[in-house]
Subunit: 339 residues, 2 copies
Amino acid sequence: MADKQPTIKEIARRLNISVSTVSRALHDHSSIGLRTKMRVKELAQELNYEPNQTAIFFQQRKTFTIGVILPELAESFFSSAISGIEDVAYKNSYTVLLGQSHDDFEREKQLTESMKKHRIDGLLVSVSKNTHTYDHFKLLENAGIPVVFFDRIPTIPAIHYIACNMISGTVQAVSYLLKKGHRVIGMINGPENLFATGERTDGYIQAMQKNRLKYDPSLIVHSDLSTESNFEAMQQLINHKRKVTAVVAFNDYVAMDAMHYAALKKVEVNKDIWFVSYANLPMVHYLKYQPAASVEQFPNLQGKKATEMLLELLTKKEEEGDTSHYKIIVDSKLVVYNE
Amino acid sequence: MADKQPTIKEIARRLNISVSTVSRALHDHSSIGLRTKMRVKELAQELNYEPNQTAIFFQQRKTFTIGVILPELAESFFSSAISGIEDVAYKNSYTVLLGQSHDDFEREKQLTESMKKHRIDGLLVSVSKNTHTYDHFKLLENAGIPVVFFDRIPTIPAIHYIACNMISGTVQAVSYLLKKGHRVIGMINGPENLFATGERTDGYIQAMQKNRLKYDPSLIVHSDLSTESNFEAMQQLINHKRKVTAVVAFNDYVAMDAMHYAALKKVEVNKDIWFVSYANLPMVHYLKYQPAASVEQFPNLQGKKATEMLLELLTKKEEEGDTSHYKIIVDSKLVVYNE
DNA sequence: CATGCACCAGCAAACGTTTGCGTTATTTAT
DNA sequence: ATAAATAACGCAAACGTTTGCTGGTGCATG
């Protein structure tokens, strides 16, 4: 076992021809005679020759590998995304190098370093919650490695990104509730430093304006997304001086906690109070308390688009010069459950 | 921007010394004087030198990369597993190359090929449902690339693997139900060709024997895991000539379907009929109908252990000779929900 | 004063491929 | 027939590192 892998050299030696000829023969280069091509290919087959990719990577200064850094693989949003990423990469015979930051800024930095060393051709990243500086990404770009951000994108200019516009979905969500007759709509929003939090707020306000209703800031409460914090937020809404009959929750987990808390306080879900949330979960239908609708963020699609964007950048790069930045926004969309 | 990456050569040129000296200086080799070391390191720092890993990989015939092939990243079981894998790999400064087979045998083969070309140091794999031959893995091993199987393991000898023993958990599950007074316990099992299906059956039988009860094969029905099939299976159990008061479901999804179907048929869950399932899901607590208990399979742990095993094999390899095969079985464990 | 021994540093090969250019036959056009 | 074009292949450099071996100092030892 463990035979030495045959090399191009070996083939050349056996056939008494030069390595360059073998190489060209294997690549169907036009300057090699049909006879020799055949002989080379046959022997290659016979010896089970496989080109040494590491040698090729080295020689070509290209690895056909894209790095992916995201916060947490176990989160269903990201695992859907990576699934889409891998699919597109695979179809284009690229390979995926993986790293999770666990929302740790330092680890994110280390990962970018490590990936740079691995000479990835490009990077896909969804930044950690604690990322506050972006030099580590700039470093990659300066080294000619394009970076595409997805979903969690930094608030800096001159980057490529694809993100989901939470505003549209939020507008739809709030409008849906308004149409159902709700007038006092609460929102359990996320941590204030998150981009996605701001978008939800904007969407809420826009929807109110569109319907010529007054916006009451006290109806938007914030949670750090822990269960306790979610409970607390829900408590605030229940105790609000106005009677809140509907709640837009930051995501499904928050919604589940909120609904749970409401039930505890004898506020009946889908009777006294209604919920709309953002879809991270595939199995809302099996839940004890179901939100009436949920905003879909298309993680798989985002992953795919991001990868396509990156691959595009990789081919464009050869042609140089272009300094424009790609931005794609996919609209989120409200999915109303047929109760 | 896009400065040419400085090389060891460049440093040598600037310092008027040889490349070998620079290389050794950077590695703190004992045969280099302190003075030169300092000079080299300073300049390296200044130029922002980074060793070209692809060159090193090539030169050392080692990539510090492990491949991971699994069926479906979006499945929570596997995303937990990969999360554990990445963690251990990262801690040991290994890198993870990713591929999903989508339970497609051909794609699995292609992935192993691709990974072999990438010269991964080792492979972690959970085989696809349709994998019926294993030559593609043997090929890797013959090339000196160790393969460790996890969770979904082939039924062939002489392999390294880590798997979860479903028997123990199943015995616990059935025993639990027996202790609760149930005497007619149904089981919705999976496709018959799956290893995990057999183990569940075995566990069921063992538990019955242990309690000196007669085993009734007609109480075990099979599903292909689709919702329709799950419904059908549940129907069979409900219509069974004996009155089934408890059901062990293949996994949480199956359980959810089964419970849903039971409810539709006016068989009240956790009153007329009780469920135990296998935990793929983190949020059973939020479900409308909850199983009374669930068998934990520790995907994250399996991933970790598998990676540790692989890394161990990688270091052992240097010492050669050892042809033994590692096997680790982690026991599954029943988690009873405090209703 | 010669010998030996640390100590430092350089030379060159090697890893496996690709590719620009040069060389030799062979064919084609004039 | 002769120059010119073409076909088929080889030479050697290059990609960036590591590493075995060799060589040259300076210094203490015999």
